[in-house]
Symmetry: C2
């Protein structure tokens, strides 16, 4: 009889991070593991012995399908950075004591760069102590900034939401343009990598002009130059739509959102961004005197499971399953990656890579995939992203709203008066 | 042979305003009218002789279905207020000259309160001059603030988008709550009426706790009291979600967003709102020191056709058709309204009302549908809204994105290199 599997979720959630969890659960059961435990709130909660037996929550195939359609981290997530092993061994002793207590054979961590750092450290510690557990990372991030993997689960659905919303925003703005010029600035997530911001260009299609300007964080942003570009466009057309990354910086290295007064840091020392579009809208309004609108797509970029990409959900599910398979076949200290086998028709396959080669390397949009002027992405960029937004995972609608699987609520009591 | 129909769209768009346009077109054709002209940018564009023959754009049943799924105003919209007849007769002479030139028998205007004012004035002028045209209003507004009609087309889809997004936002926030309290403030459209803000409570269901606090613009908002409520909740739970209308005012009569510095006016003298949530998040952060997030649902509330309610799309389509039917049967100076025939099961039917009784009366949420404390809606409110968000109009997906019908773009050239 095999032992148990432990799985956790870490960092910012995505629309499909639970599809990976579903994949881990299903493959673990199919491969004959005994229990599948889920850490509540990642490694941080686990150290406080916060965990659940996933079989108490995923009771049948319908629950599994609901889990695939549930946004955010079903188990809860954390932003907790393990100390270096030589800095504080007691943390590691605590974790491995719990792993032994729960008879864990396989440890899966679903996350981004910071989470792969956790897998690397736990694996290194297991080498030092000869611990039996296998440690495998499952990639996840809407930002698509993980190295080596062709792309990350979560990116495709966020890109689909952004492209769809951009289409709808452009449609809305076009309807208002009579004798009234308007400038719309859409702010997209992505601290250092412009993958999501560039995805707004997918809205350019037979029935939509797409945005006029797109600014990625990979290149320095010139505020005055931007106003000039908008001014030139307004001479030719009535509606201008610009899409900017939350992470654009001036050539002095200062975030545009800092001009708007944002200044708080998260647990990893990253600046909390927002207000970039609002600031630029104010500048355009002051300089050009036209009507402006700032739209921050905000949290919904990573939470809009109702518009998830089928390719993305299926890949997230497969990648989750592949982590258990890799561990079961003897791998440890690895992350599962997605390889693009073919572009046209699009086909992908999973592989495994040494996690030491992955952690903390940030993949940005190559310069050749941004146009010369630095204000749009190229056709090659779009050819890369387009396959990842294909297909639709129809939400399971109950009372007019998408149903999710929730770890927090009790079973509903049908005998009680409804909703009272 | 019957003459022609002229139809226009006015005011803020909705996800289903084009479904009404589709209904007007279809019924006009079925009832034997000759041409159906569409005003570009409402009455304002029409006075500049901006109009199209809709048959050039709606060529088959597929186009009609695409139109039903296209957000924003297909024809373009305006915010143009006609002068009183005695103030400037020349405007009316100009309009009626064009109506005669185009052999218009039926004039349909799709819009909200301000648009019904246009129907009333044109009808009154036709009475004065004995003009032959019929003038019929087609209700539309996400705000649901039109009197006499049970609800307005556009409201149900916006409510569905808001409830779905609120569910996804709560899901996202819950995932982050370990040893880190967080307060999320969601800002919803609705200047004076809280119908949409209250609809966020629909997210409360078997799998979601729903928001903790909901503040409608119908009641004075107490900033200090709000902070106290949040503080009390944080003693019991880690995640607090508050939903506020963009139009909440303090008892001094000052909009909360004014404290944040918003001050511009639109063409009807309404204050341009936004920044209410951002301001309150800042106050909570300063007072309570916890992590806060402000989320403005923004333009997407009225543009997210990809999540339209089937009930809403079908009613919008039917109401559009009913305007032509009413005119064809001799009515003028009326607006089509929706009557709720039955609650359970939900059934509705169209009727007609004298437009003089409708224009400029704003329907707000009755006090008895808000709880005593003034920070939530009642079950009766939810029973009223819930039927209107039911059912889903599956978008027609092309290349992974919802396809719309566009008046602006030419037919696609398949022989050209794709997307280059």
């Amino acid at each position: 009889m095999k032992g148990n599997v432990l799985v956790g979720q870490s960092g910012g959630p995505t629309a499909v991070i639970n599809a990976s969890l579903a994949g881990v659960f299903k493959t673990a059961k199919e491969r004959g593991y005994n229990k599948v435990y889920g850490m509540r709130y990642g490694i941080q909660g686990f150290m406080d012995e916060q965990y659940v037996d996933l079989s108490d929550h995923i009771k049948n195939e319908l629950d599994l399908e609901l889990l695939k359609r549930t946004p955010s981290a079903f188990l809860g997530t954390c932003r907790y950075k393990l100390p270096e092993i030589h800095e504080d061994k007691s943390v590691y002793e605590r974790i491995f004591e719990l792993l032994d207590k729960l008879d864990i054979e396989v440890f899966i961590y679903i996350g981004g760069n910071d989470s792969m750092d956790t897998i690397r450290k736990l694996f290194d510690y297991s080498l030092l102590t000869g611990a039996k557990q296998k440690f495998v990372g499952c990639p996840k991030t809407i930002d698509n900034d993980l190295a080596i993997t062709d792309h990350t689960p979560g990116f495709g659905s966020a890109a689909k939401y952004i492209a769809t919303s951009t289409k709808e925003i452009i449609c809305d703005a076009m309807g208002f343009s009579y004798k009234k010029k308007n400038v719309n600035i859409v702010e997209i997530m992505g601290r250092n990598a412009g993958w999501l911001t560039g995805a707004a260009a997918l809205s350019k299609s037979e029935d939509c002009e797409g945005p006029d300007l797109i600014y990625l964080p990979e290149l320095p942003f010139d505020i005055e130059g931007f106003v000039e570009e908008v001014k030139k466009l307004l001479e030719k057309k009535d509606v201008v739509v610009a899409v900017v990354s939350e992470g654009i910086k001036t050539k002095e290295g200062k975030y545009v959102c800092e001009y708007a007064g944002a200044d708080s840091l998260d647990a990893f020392g990253h600046i909390q961004m927002s207000g970039t579009a609002a600031y630029l809208a104010q500048v355009v309004k002051n300089e050009l005197g036209c009507k402006t609108r700032a739209i921050e797509l905000s949290t919904l970029q990573r939470a809009a499971a109702h518009l998830a990409s089928k390719i993305d959900v299926d890949e997230a599910f497969n990648v989750g399953g592949a982590t258990v398979k890799a561990a079961d076949e003897g791998s440890s200290g690895v992350m599962v990656v997605i390889d693009r086998v073919s572009d046209d028709p699009y086909q992908s396959a999973t592989g495994v890579y040494d996690v030491h080669r992955i952690a903390n390397g940030e993949k940005v949009v190559p310069r050749k995939w941004i146009n010369k002027a630095g204000n749009y992405v190229t056709e090659e960029f779009l050819d890369y992203v387009r396959p990842l937004i294909q297909g639709h995972y129809t939400p399971m609608m109950v009372e007019g709203l998408p149903r999710h699987l929730s770890i927090n609520l009790k079973n509903y009591d049908w005998s009680a008066p409804r909703g009272k």
